[in-house]
């Protein structure tokens, strides 16, 4: 296999894995972290956001008073964030750049009402604050979120799929 193909496979696999972890963490924290809980509760009823990564597993999410729900994989999004390449998503999912930096660097396109994507971006920033080591999070986030549960519990929920 060519070196480029191995790198691409690695990036796609990593993105799929981190994307799954992100979903689980988002779901867990939307019941435990007051800020994420509030964003989910304020989410416009029935609206969906889809995140797409070329060659990797994306997801569709919606917010409710009970927290964020991950919807079946083929659910369409009222708003879709689509990374331009797996390498672009890889940079975000491995903490090399923040979502804000990715937006600033044109690494994804957004279809639909940008206003609906903003609560999701804020939640991803908070989730990254829990999942990434402080050194990494400090480098990419404008402000470190004040944790309301321990990162260990979030890792546990991600690993156990709760």
């Amino acid at each position: 296999m060519a070196k480029g193909s191995i790198k691409l496979c690695f990036q796609c696999a990593t993105c799929s894995m981190v994307s799954a972890c992100l979903c689980r963490a988002l779901k867990f924290l939307s019941r435990r972290d007051s800020h994420i809980k509030d964003e989910a509760a304020r989410w416009p009823q029935g609206k969906t956001l889809r995140l797409e990564i070329p060659g990797a597993r994306g997801f569709t999410v919606t917010g409710t008073k009970e927290g964020f729900q991950i919807l079946p994989r083929d659910t369409k999004g009222d708003v879709t964030i689509r990374f331009k390449s797996p390498a672009d998503a890889f940079k975000v999912f491995t903490g090399q750049i923040s979502v804000a930096q990715a937006y600033g660097q044109h690494r994804f396109v957004l279809k639909g009402n940008m206003g609906l994507a903003m609560p999701f971006v804020r939640c991803v920033d908070r989730v990254e604050g829990y999942l990434f080591p402080a050194v990494l999070a400090k480098r990419i986030l404008k402000r470190l979120p004040k944790k309301e549960v321990s990162s260990a519990r979030v890792y546990g929920a991600v690993l156990l799929g709760r």
Partner: protein, 395 residues
């Protein structure tokens, strides 16, 4: 500096005396002969639309249709109605004569037509649309503020949601931007001041936000110099063509800069004040700029220090110790704003607009949080931070 950036240069620029008379030639080059001329009632009343029509007729061109009912805060419904009119009258191009609302409306119309659609909301998003059909588009700004003639952005109100919707696409850029001194010389001093400050905010936010890059920095710094150096002269004497053209060019350069490096928190809150309380955009920018600069100061200290050079000029820059330059830049802008307010009675606090109530703060803050501009602001701003800023600029 951003590790990766993209930059779209503006298309053709016609700047100076007689620029209007060259529009027919440009449309011919673009293969168009039946333009739909878009403007507003105010410009029709003061004769600006007639000036453009007279210039077009010198080149043997008559608009196929003229539409002057674009309101100050244009909406998606206005855009959709004009797109239908364009088809009904068999037009083949757009000429937008006006401020940001008129030009952004024209961009929306062009987007609907290019995508062969009927509803602008189908095109919402950032960088997502394919080019579609080419609709030749000439923009003639009549204020020196929005820079919309050089941007890939259109802001159009969704009246039902009380939100200003942002549309971003490289295909929104006009084919030709026309800067003619006749278009701005009758602009009243107060509007000259607030729109000029709007352009200044574009340049300052472009020069400091996360997406800034060497090309946008060049545009932004030149824009700041032109705007700070000529705003007072244009307010003092609206017929000062040199000052007017400096402002027009400054506004265009600021537009090109922020079109690529985006704007930040001043615009996020300003859009919300416009959407929720109908505060005119330029006035919202004027009110918010110094407070937000102070808010961003720790993240932007070095950059603000550099910007003192175009803001205050080489003498002041050289005389100011390096550790005081950032604060001096903010103080200079505050002084400029105070002078402009004294001459024009332009509001510099929310109370003075007479449009905002304290009860509106919650809705304004929540709307600002969901504005796309907030994402590239250098400093994080949450609900409480925005409420704090609104309190600061209240009176």
């Amino acid at each position: 500096m951003s590790k990766y950036y993209e930059f779209q240069l503006p298309e053709k620029i016609l700047s100076g005396d007689g620029a209007l008379e060259h529009i027919p030639h440009e449309l011919t080059l673009l293969g168009a002969s039946r333009p739909l001329l878009l403007s507003d009632r105010g410009l029709e009343k003061v004769g600006t639309v007639d000036t453009v029509k007279a210039a077009l007729s010198q080149g043997g061109l008559e608009p196929a249709e003229t539409y002057c009912d674009i309101p100050a805060d244009s909406s998606i419904h206005v855009v959709n109605a004009i797109a239908a009119l364009y088809r009904e009258k068999n037009c083949d191009s757009l000429i937008a004569v006006g401020g940001g609302s008129v030009i952004d409306t024209a961009k929306g119309v062009g987007m609907v037509l290019a995508q062969a659609g009927s509803d602008l909301m189908d095109s919402a998003g950032a960088e997502v649309l394919p080019r579609g059909a080419h609709v030749p588009f000439v923009a003639v700004p009549t204020t020196s503020g929005t820079g919309s003639e050089a941007t890939i952005v259109a802001v159009v109100k969704d009246p039902e949601a009380q939100v200003k919707m942002e549309f971003l696409s490289y295909h929104l850029l006009p084919d030709v931007a026309v800067l003619d001194p006749r278009m701005t010389e009758t602009l009243p001093p107060r509007i000259t001041a607030s729109t000029g400050f709007d352009a200044l905010v574009h340049a300052i936010e472009a020069a400091t936000c996360l997406q800034r890059n060497p090309v946008s920095d060049s545009f932004a710094e030149k824009a700041i110099g032109l705007l700070c150096g000529n705003l007072m002269a244009a307010v003092d004497n609206g017929r000062d063509r040199k000052a007017r053209m400096a402002l027009a060019n400054g506004s265009l350069l600021a537009g090109a800069a922020f079109s690529n490096s985006m704007v930040g928190l001043v615009h996020a809150i300003g859009h919300a004040l416009g959407g929720v309380c109908r505060v005119p955009h330029g006035e919202a920018m004027t009110i918010l700029l110094p407070a937000v600069m102070k808010y961003n100061l720790e993240k932007c200290r070095d950059r603000y220090a550099e910007l003192l050079l175009p803001i205050a000029g080489p003498e002041v820059y050289a005389q100011t110790p390096s550790d005081q330059r950032a604060q001096r830049a903010i103080d200079t802008l505050v002084a400029l704003r105070r002078q402009l307010a004294e001459k024009t009675e332009m509001p510099i606090s929310l109370v003075e607009t007479g449009l905002v109530r304290r009860e509106d703060f919650d809705a304004v803050a929540r709307t600002a949080l969901n504005d796309g501009a907030i994402i590239v602001n250098p400093a994080e701003a949450d609900y409480d931070d925005i409420i704090g800023l609104l309190e600061e600029v209240w009176a």
